[in-house]
Amino acid sequence: MIDQNLPVLVPVLFLLAALLAPLLGQWRRGLSYLVALLALLVNTAVALYSLYYVVVNGIVRHKFGGWVPPIGIEYVLDPLAAFMIAVVTVVSLVVLVHSRQVVKVELVGRDVPFYGVVMLLLAGFCGIVVTGDLFNLYVFLEISSLATYALIAAGEKPAPVAAFRYLIMGTIGASFYLFGLWFIYNMTGSLNMADIAAILPGICGETGVIIGLLLMVVGIGIKMALFPLHGWLPDAYTYASSASTAFIAPIGTKIGAYVLIRILLYVFEPGYFSSQIPLADVIMWLAAAGILYGSVMAIAQKELKRMLAYSSIAQVGYIGLGLGLANPLGLIGAVLHVLNHAFMKACLFLVAGNLRVTIGHSDISRFDAALRRKMPWTMAAFTVGALSMIGIPPTAGFFSKWYLVLGGIDRGAWIMVVVILVSSLLNAVYFFRVLENAYFKPALSMDEAMGDYDHPDADIESFPREEVAPSMLVPTLVLGTGIVLLGIFNAFLVSAVIRLMVPAGL
């Protein structure tokens, strides 16, 4: 009985929590966090069970109110959706536990609305993933966007400007999507994905369908920060509170990537965007440009969060590239990278949060070797995340690149193979710059910091431990460990789960 309702459970619970968290928070401040935690715990369990259930038993469809599609709205859990939900909930759960302390420092007095908005954000994300209806998807897209605006705006001084910029860009994106959807609806007379998928093959050559698809892709491209539609991202990630960034950065853009995959490979025929129109090539080349652009820009950054933001643009490029390759291995690489990058970016942003809470800044040039003494575990987690971003086995990052390279070779896209490899090296440049500072740059001694220059090189050992509280450290380490485990068990994931997502005919 409950199995048939699995698709609905997660978004509904999040919506409920989004209501309850601020309400109960009025009564007792601490309750809002507990509500959020409880909702996430339950939903993580549901999500993992759903993933297991879907992999074993196949797709679950839920018809809202018993209305038969295409009249009614349908929620669908297929392997791709179940996988995405699992990624979103697991990563969010870890980030939520971490966020509690960060919120206390960075969002003083705003903890109650924060948790409410986070729940709304997750409701939006999960709704986008499970819905089988293109218009319903738009609704959830707006819900998640509204939550994102709020989360970004609550940050440093320039944050409201960054949020406003994203508001404009996001609204344009949503409008593009809606406009494209109008075309599709006009041509097919339906909003249900499965229904449209059945109708499209007959009319897919029509101009209206192509225009509709292109408009939708542009709209989603903005949400996904696909180069050159990424303009909103760096400021938004940098100026938002570390707690907000840690929620938005690892999963926000991935949801965009998910919608792109959903529409291009499931709503349309899998081969359509690569063989009938040259859309796959465009996505692939833009992604490649984004990878190089993001990596080069990341090298130029002086601030850790901003560097990670540009790195995100590059990493979203990997996902776009895998999709643009339009073959099974490329898709596997892209989907695996959604998971891997969610873990890596979450881990790295949590480290940035730890640094801000402890030493008050995340300026790369001001890092010095005292960090390795003060926060050994945080820096260890950062090292693992960095190695994974560079793609050193057995960390996860190596393996998504492996499948992407295989896909590139299958496609004969040698330039793409080169781009992936070169970007690994660019990643090495900007991550080792940070690592070098944090581990080996001579530290100012306490005396020196106070103007006494008699002892040039401080003895690192003389600094006291200042590691963050366990509630922040444990999530950071969980993600760091997760990166290694995901790497070691990637083959299992790929053959047991991700293979199921490759649609026939790709």
Partner: protein, 494 residues
């Protein structure tokens, strides 16, 4: 083939030892106990696999799928155990020597040093036992990263610059190797190392094979220091001397030439190489490296730098031996992995002992040091004789087979390269010995030998070098193994 977890334990023992090493950071004697203990256990485990390998029974274990369709698998074939024996055996001596060295210099960060060393050895044995290319890459990249903290150990600006250079070269090589592996996977459908060549019988145009070969050699050639990919190695001499000794004369660089031997003998195979003409290209690169590196060694006054360039040259002996594609040369190349290891580690040990004792690094300052440190410089003389390819040191044996192979295959030029290089080796090493013993200078009056922790290991490695010349098959059957390796690679004929 039989399944056995011993190879896995042999790989893991030093990785596991990292934990107690880190935990006992405040008790140096206990910490060093773990290092030496792990080294002994590792060597014991490797040794226990030897009889099976000699008898043709190959231990084999599949751990889990590392990427879809490829297992993380270890296999103890003759080549693997050959390299594992050399690396793990010399680790025992290096561990003891390291203790004397870091304590003699009162180095900082000793715990990190010993921990990284242990990880390096795990990955080296992993490389030796890798059954397929992906497994090889996994350990190869771990080795790259684990070596980095050792290179920048001093944390000076110069050390950091060298570290950056090292990372630039090795990480580039890593991604190139990954591309080569991925491409091979698409061409051959599998990635196992197959004696005689994984790509034998694969239908691919010669141009594809050539590019693929270039990628592979680009990938393993950095650690093998084939010119022009060698520049990181002299720079890496900024590391503490035991690191230079074991990693930059044995484990890391030999992983590179081991990789070349794997690529030549087990990925491409003699037939494919010959039919595409890539053997010629590799020969030319190796020959140039040998000669140029030897000449550059002549110009160095810093002892470790001279040894580093010497290493660059000798690594290419192995490469040239593999590229000649004659059974004798192949045997000689494989044997030279072991010969050069024992000889060069001796020389580096000597350089380190001198540095710890009298804080001199330049050759021009070593007049008369032999009278103060007779054992050390005696050992240095033995290593020098061996590197020049003269009996009774094992360098002679491997060079003999290399020469035989060069003549047998009709490559007169390769033979000339070996002979000229022998002379150059003599030219850059013998003067050091001459200075040490025969140049009049009393500046080292009153100086004594370094601590026994350092002198005993270097005397042992010098004795081993002599021993393996007189009994190439003694103790650990290195000669038999080399012949078996050659037999398996050339078994299918040319």
């Amino acid at each position: 083939m039989y399944e056995s977890y011993v190879p896995l334990w042999a790989v893991m023992v030093s990785m596991v030892a990292v934990v107690p090493i880190l935990l006992s950071s405040r008790r140096p004697n206990l910490r060093e106990f773990w290092t030496v203990g792990a080294a002994l256990v590792k060597f014991g485990l490797v040794l226990s696999l030897l009889p099976g390998a000699i008898a043709g029974r190959i231990a084999h274990v599949e751990i889990l799928q590392v990427v879809e369709g490829v297992e993380l698998a270890l296999r103890v074939d003759p080549l693997g155990i050959f390299f594992a024996l050399v690396a793990s055996g010399l680790w025992i001596l290096t561990s003891v020597y390291s203790i004397g060295y870091v304590r003699g210099l009162d180095e900082k960060k000793q715990t990190r040093y010993f921990a990284c060393f242990a990880v390096c050895l795990s990955s080296t044995i992993g490389i030796a036992f890798s059954a397929n290319i992906v497994t090889f890459i996994v350990f190869y990249e771990i080795l790259t990263i684990a070596t980095y903290p050792l290179i920048i150990h001093k944390e000076t600006t110069e050390a950091l610059r060298s570290g950056r250079k090292y990372l630039f070269y090795t990480l580039t090589a890593g991604v190139v190797l990954m591309a080569a592996a991925a491409w091979t996977h698409r061409l051959a459908g599998g990635l196992d190392f197959v004696p005689g060549g994984l790509l034998r019988g694969v239908d691919a145009p010669a141009s594809t094979i050539r590019i693929l070969f270039l990628l592979f050699i680009g990938g393993v050639g950095v650690k093998a220091a084939i010119m022009p990919l060698h520049a990181w190695l002299p720079a890496a001499m900024v590391a503490p001397t035991p690191v230079s000794a074991l990693l930059h004369a044995v484990a890391v660089v030999k992983s590179g030439v081991f990789g070349v031997v794997r690529v030549v003998g087990f990925v491409f195979g003699p037939q494919v190489m010959q039919s595409c003409g890539v053997d010629q290209a590799l020969m030319v690169a190796a020959a140039i490296t040998i000669i140029v590196a030897s000449i550059m060694a002549l110009a160095q006054d810093n002892l470790k730098m001279r040894l580093a360039y010497s290493t660059v040259g000798h690594l290419s002996y192995v490469v040239l031996g593999a590229a000649i594609l004659s059974p004798e040369a192949f045997t000689g190349g494989v044997l030279h992995i072991a010969s050069h290891a024992t000889m060069k580690i001796t020389l580096f040990f000597c350089a380190g002992a001198i540095y710890v004792n009298v804080h001199r690094q330049n050759i021009s300052e070593l007049d008369g040091i032999g009278r103060a440190m007779p054992w050390t410089m005696g050992a240095f003389a033995v290593g020098s004789i061996g590197l020049a390819g003269l009996p009774p040191v094992n360098g002679f044996v491997s060079k003999w087979y290399l020469g035989l192979g060069a003549v047998g295959a009709g490559h007169k030029l390769a033979l000339a390269v070996f002979l000229v290089s022998g002379l150059l080796n003599a030219a850059y090493l013998f003067p050091i010995v001459h200075r040490a013993f025969f140049r009049g200078s009393n500046q080292y009056e009153g100086e004594r030998e370094a601590s026994p922790l350092m002198v005993v290991p270097l005397v042992i490695t010098a004795l081993l070098s002599v021993f393996f010349c007189l009994w190439p098959n003694g103790l650990v059957n290195l000669y038999d193994l080399a012949v078996m390796i050659t037999g398996s690679v050339f078994g299918g004929g040319l």
